[in-house]
Homo-oligomer: 478 residues x 2
């Protein structure tokens, strides 16, 4: 039920407080809460205190849950707390669980930042650049700003909120899954739907709502031959070489056109229906954006719709590398004794990771047998996660769509993503409620010079927040 | 012409002086003349002084040739001198050019040595273990011991000697080739034949003479796609992946049974004639030795003769690794933007490296075109060296064979090797004289616990000298 008058007051308050929100974000960015750095663990905890102070100021009830300790770089470290919060408990309102994370990935000026990463910079265009600005400090503070704006405007907050902010997302989310499953019918028992702001828009002008993610099955394939590395001059031509076998075997995985060759793997892919096809047709996405993103013109498909479909709703297989072979620059005439090829399959609805694992193992063993090699094959699935898909017609999506439309004067894109955000699946499996991904980061972040490519993590990091958009993602259309 | 009485005196003197020879070798081993270590360059130079002192003592005329400087690890370093020596100039005697090297590879106790590598250890069995003992300080000092023994026994040295001892063999032999070509008709102009002691016996009881080496053509094959590494979740399925292309392409190089598939490459291989076949039949080599050497039973061929033929006289192709892909332990779902596959072909008589390069480039480009990928291929030949083969019936070989037979009471094996010893080819090309490889290291060094596998260099290092054999390789049968 939209109260137009209340909303206008809300928007006005948000408008008036922009500078405060920016200063607040600047404070948060300045805390280098890097969860993968032993030396920065205290800063992660400091960041949790910074947040809970704000919770107190805003009257949000909270518990900072201790989830034990872990070993990192041979040091035992206490895990940062998972902050659970409750704001409002009106039985006549819906209860939305909001998830986000207050830790960040490492960042050094030398990595390619245009300004010091923990010293937030505002560009003439109003972009706020700093580590964590969009992933994920900006989005989580956005919710807190929205609460504050409602309070300042003296209007009622339209929903009850349950909050779950963790400090280990960039480092494996240790302790989170257990907590979510444990609290599913306790702390989270009244939750009606979930909202996560930790991904990105598809384009540059239109926000989006994300309703699907691909899953993954990751494999290590070891081929063992001689007991030690050999010199190729002395032994080349006389022994079955694990590298030769691996190249033959992996050449059977996928075509250069991306078609997976593993028998049966494509059989369960959900068919594309008309309703889904309509979604693709309205998306804001262009080939030139795609070419900018990949910094080349080596696209397999010629239409934008196919590109998005093959990214989001069809499986893909990528070979990542080989462990145990020569990998440095230069040249070494070694004949590696044991090599481990690594590849992964991005899986989609309705593929079952277990069945994929069986098909992969059978196929690789069959193909290896055909090689007639005396070497030994070992196939191991390292981890797997099923794909996630939500109903984009659920009221959770409708509310978010309406809110976006009021603020941005356009309907949001309905998108999926090719990668996985594991917590999404956890919330859906534990709570059995609709989960909505409501991204705040603009899609062009990784299309502009502001890209930060974090080689260690292998993840595109975008850390730019457009100031005018910064805290209006919660039009609270619920 | 063999003077039996003189020979007996020589053998007796050698016998009586064994302990002195061992102490002399111990002194040489104690100088860590590691040519690839900036910190050890002074020791390499010190080793050259140690040798020239011995030259002076023995009345060998010499020149320590300055061959300039080079850059190593960003430091400009003077190259160690190449020692040229002349012993005797009787126009009625043959002149033999003896080559060896006084530098060594790095060695640390942690690398797997049974005792401190620069502190020579004598085992109860009379084996002398130390870095450089057999590669190549033992062999070069052997020649000097032989000169000394002739002097002590007061018998005439049977040949004139030209000596060429370098200090950069383990680090690319910088400056050597130029010097050999420059001196071919100057310092080396009277040379009748060349003798190099820098390889190993085939077996454990019979010495061998080596008359052939495979050559090599080494390739870097770069496949470039996106402008930067991509996340496989976001981009998998939408772009042509350089890794996929590389696996398809390299699967076309060689079968798991070692058959090279590159069109035309096998055409020029010298046919196996009966005389050559006879050589293989008399060799001391067993499958169990081979299995010990490779520490597995992954041999392609089932007979000893085939194993040696495929090691020595047939080409082979080995894939060494990939630069630019994920190579660490663990897992990274990266989609590498540019990968460089590395392989090499061991070439044999009568293959021409130039023609092989052309065939490889054409074949890879043709096969890549078939893949239908938008990625870019670049094939580069890093270096190539033709195979070397000498006439094993030349008087140089006959003399060595007779000398070995007198000392060891058995005819030496006639062997070839699968790897390359570049200086062999240089001497043959520059001097146009017969070159003989007369190895001193026992073949079982890398079949026993005394193996030292130097991972950094990718080379089997055997550093054991059997004391009783240590300096009799120069029976001087010439
Ligand atoms: Zn995030
Ligand atoms: Zn992140
Ligand atoms: Zn050597
Ligand atoms: Zn060596």
């Amino acid at each position: 039920m939209v109260n137009t008058e209340a909303l206008e007051k809300f928007y006005k308050t948000v408008e008036q407080n922009q500078d405060d929100y920016v200063e607040r974000l600047r404070e948060a960015v300045a805390i280098p809460s890097i969860s993968s750095d032993v030396e920065r663990r205290d800063d992660v905890v400091r960041m949790s205190h910074w947040l809970t102070s704000l919770f107190e100021k805003l009257g949000i009830k909270y518990e900072a849950r201790d989830v034990g300790s872990h070993i990192m770089d041979n040091v035992e470290l206490k895990l940062p707390p998972i902050i659970l919060g409750t704001y409002g408990n009106d039985p006549n309102k819906k209860t939305i669980l909001v998830y986000g994370h207050y830790d960040v990935q490492p960042a050094l000026l030398e990595d390619g930042w245009s300004s010091k990463p923990f010293d937030m910079n505002e560009t003439p265009k109003g972009q706020l650049i700093g580590r964590g600005a969009s992933d994920d400090k900006g989005p989580i503070i956005g919710w807190l700003n929205a609460i504050e704006a409602h309070q300042n405007a003296e209007i009622e907050f339209p929903v009850n909120l349950k909050i779950c902010f963790e400090g280990m997302e960039e480092n494996g989310s240790e302790g989170l899954d257990e907590l979510i499953f444990k609290e599913a019918d306790k702390y989270f028992k009244d939750v009606d739907a979930v909202c996560i702001s930790d991904n990105y828009w598809l384009g540059v002008t239109k926000p989006c709502l994300t309703y699907g993610l691909r899953g993954i099955c990751a494999y290590k394939v070891a081929i063992s031959g001689p007991g030690k590395d050999l010199h190729s001059g002395v032994f080349g031509g006389t022994v079955h070489e694990p590298m030769t076998d691996l190249f033959h075997l992996f050449s059977k995985l996928v075509t250069p056109q991306g078609k997976i060759l593993i028998t049966g793997v494509n059989d369960d892919v959900a068919p594309l229906d008309d309703a889904e096809l309509q979604i693709y047709k309205s998306l804001e996405f262009s080939m030139s954006e795609f070419h900018s993103a990949i910094q080349s013109k080596t696209n397999i498909h010629e239409s934008e719709i196919e590109i998005l479909q093959y990214r989001w709703r069809y499986p893909s297989l990528s070979i990542h590398g080989i462990e145990g072979a020569f990998s440095s620059s230069g040249f070494k005439t070694v004949l590696p004794a044991r090599v481990i090829g690594k590849f992964s399959i991005r899986i989609v609805p309705n593929m079952d990771p277990k069945r994929v694992n069986e098909l992969v193992a059978k196929y690789l063993n069959d193909e290896f047998a055909k090689l007639g090699s005396k070497n030994t094959l070992n196939v191991e699935c390292l981890h797997s996660a099923k794909a996630w898909i939500a109903n984009p017609n659920h009221w959770n999506y409708v509310a978010a769509s309406n809110a976006v439309e009021r603020v941005f004067k356009c309907k949001p894109d309905l998108t999926r993503e090719g990668g996985s955000i594991p917590v999404t699946l956890t919330f859906q499996d534990a709570l059995k409620k609709n989960v909505l991904l409501l991204p705040m980061g603009r899609g062009d972040d990784f299309l502009t010079k502001l890209v930060f490519w974090d080689r260690d993590k292998g993840e595109d990091m975008t850390e730019v927040v457009e100031k005018p958009f910064y805290d209006v993602n919660l039009g609270c259309g619920y």
